[in-house]
């Protein structure tokens, strides 16, 4: 039930920062492919800055919890609330975006798909939670 509070400290630090660095490179490559080369530098700066904070964030509880090398029931509760908040905000933004796009005479895509994915995954998670 209660797990060790220090969860693979060293590994989590490098996995987290490496993930952000790789994601930054992937987004930058997509920008080059999409002829948006002007956005490459800001993208890399943003992603590599987050990667650096995760790698060298020191003893800050927020950084250690975010990168996953500090874990206990309170941090898991915070994580759950943060994910729920972000999910609700994303679905709300998708619905607003869909309505605006439809009002402009467009199909509402891709906001329609995002709102549908958010809504259906919420319902599926709800049903799963009720049954388990």
């Amino acid at each position: 039930m209660m797990r060790n509070v220090f969860r693979g400290c060293g590994r989590a630090r490098w996995y987290g920062s490496l993930s952000f660095a790789v994601a930054g490179l992937a987004v930058a490559a997509a920008e080059v492919a999409g002829h948006h080369s002007g956005q490459v530098i800001p993208t890399l700066v943003l992603f590599f800055a987050v990667a650096a904070v995760l790698a060298f964030g020191g003893r800050s509880e927020s950084v250690r919890a975010f990168r996953g090398d500090l874990d206990d029931e309170r941090l898991r509760a915070i994580q759950l609330r943060a994910v729920a908040f972000a999910g609700q905000l994303t679905v709300l933004a998708s619905v607003v975006g869909m309505i605006v796009e439809i009002a402009r005479g467009h199909t509402g895509s891709p906001f329609t798909w995002l709102a549908a994915i958010g809504g259906f995954s919420y319902l599926a998670a709800w049903v799963y939670g009720i049954r388990h």
Binding site: V5, L70, D72, E73, R74, L75
Partner: protein, 64 residues
Amino acid sequence: MKNRVRQLRTERELSQGQLAAAMSVSRQTINSIEQGRYTPSLPLAMKLARHFDSTVEEVFEDDA
């Protein structure tokens, strides 16, 4: 939720870090419990109570 964790901890001359290590939680979680900002789960509340040779009711006060 009001509780006697800080009182019981200081009586036993334990630091927050030592209690946190014994409970397998972070020091900040012990601090949050002592401040009443975080209500622990039942397993953690029971573990804390056992650590202080008390019952959950003796450590935690139901202020509802």
